[in-house]
Amino acid sequence: MSNEWPLWEVFIRGQHGMSHRHVGSLHAPDAEMAIKNARDVYTRRNEGVSIWVVEAANIAASSPTEKGPLYDPSRSKVYRHPTFFDIPDEVGAM
């Protein structure tokens, strides 16, 4: 039972103009079969107009323990949001 097909992560573009979004994963011997299987498993009801597959082993991910160092620094930079600046009403829409 060691000859298991590798795992692929599946990304689907739901409609024209949208980004591909991760929808799940599946096993397949190669990329071509992964796309064919993804069509059957994840788009049985018109859920997509385009499919990407990536072998799961090729995905690098951040670790949950790095959450602090990665994301905390942006918390204090409130001036990056437009709501930080008060624009007088008489200036109008900006």
């Binding site: 039972m1 060691s2 000859n3 298991e4 011997p29 498993v41 049985r44």
Partner: protein
């Protein structure tokens, strides 16, 4: 349910918890989702593998009783619908296997555990589908019972499980409606067709009630799984909800629920009903149902017969890769 009698690996008193376990429980209490790479207690991981795995196996084995009727569906349209439904069940199995795999178990490992009998699937799929009306009863009652459990599980604490449940619930209501549609046709048909519909209800009523498992109000396993939010309602709550929803539907069909003690209880605002025969339930779980051997043999045969395809496609992929590398 599709996952029945899930033994929990936890059950610690809060005073005995490590600081990590306390933080973990606090995240769940706050409604946060747990993701694959997050720290989790070993018991949570193991219990979830057991539960999601059993759920996945049920979807896969669940194709067999209905698959039995694909070649004998009464019309081409019914055949196409049933084919789509059975294909959905395969898809549901795959979503769930992938969710289980994020917990560190391999697909082949899960398959091997099903085929060796170490992991179970739902008791309901060990009953035969003897007539076309049974296909209707399975969609209406069995999928109806499954929905009772799957809708709340969309809120489960484990992210990949929750996302699989959301996908499944979107597709499941088609299953129940197509079943009820078959039942309507039969119940409004000739006297003989109506008799078949009644017979299907007679045979599937109690096995459907058994799907929720025996009362677990006192169960420590159940209490732990509820604290972890991998179980949302007690078995009795879900069973009651199922009966309350289904009885009026049977009345609409003009069929009789095979329970002489079934009665609306004004005071409780629920139906009173008879418990299924729990001896039968445990007997079926232990492998002695009408179709246990047939189901296991069908899965074992499918796995063995597919071996050359799995190996052949892997060899083909390796050859293609080598050829591409040589060309570069």
């Amino acid at each position: 349910m599709y996952a029945q009698m899930i033994k929990s690996e936890g059950g610690k008193d809060p005073s005995e918890m490590t600081p990590e376990e306390v933080r973990f429980q606090a995240r769940i209490d706050a409604g946060e989702k747990i993701e694959p790479k997050d720290w989790m207690p070993e018991g949570y991981r193991k219990t979830l593998i057991r539960q999601i795995g059993q759920h996945a196996h049920s979807e896969i084995v669940g194709q067999l009783p209905e698959g039995n009727w694909i070649t004998r569906a009464p019309t081409l349209e019914r055949k196409a619908i049933l084919l789509a439904k059975v294909q959905d069940e395969a898809g549901h199995g795959l979503y769930l296997y992938c969710a289980a795999e994020t917990l560190g178990v391999s697909r082949d490992d899960l398959t091997e555990q099903l085929l060796s009998g170490r992991m179970k699937y739902s008791s309901i799929f060990n009953y035969p589908t003897l007539t076309w009306a049974d296909v209707g009863a399975v969609g209406w009652l069995v999928d109806g019972a499954a929905i009772m459990n799957q809708v709340p599980l969309q809120r489960t604490s484990y992210g990949p499980y929750s996302r699989a449940m959301i996908r499944i619930c979107k597709e499941e209501s088609f299953h129940q409606r197509q079943g009820f549609d078959i039942m309507m046709k039969m119940a409004q048909g000739t006297p003989e067709q109506k008799r078949m519909a009644q017979d299907a209800l007679n045979r599937f009523w109690y096995p459907s009630l058994m799907m929720f498992g025996p009362s677990d109000a006192e169960s420590v396993h159940s209490a732990q799984n509820m604290a972890w939010k991998i179980k949302i309602n007690t078995n009795d709550e879900l069973r009651q909800k199922f009966v309350d929803q289904t009885v009026p539907q049977a009345e609409y069909l003009g069929l009789t629920v095979p329970d002489p003690d079934l009665k609306w209880n004004e005071e409780r605002g629920h139906y009173d009903f008879s418990e299924p025969d729990w001896t039968e339930f445990f007997d079926v779980l232990n492998g002695n149902g009408p179709c246990n051997n047939e189901r296991m043999e069908a899965r074992q045969e499918a796995w063995a017969d597919g071996q050359w395809v799995r190996d052949g496609l892997m060899a083909h992929a390796a050859k293609k890769r080598a050829r591409k590398m040589a060309a570069e």
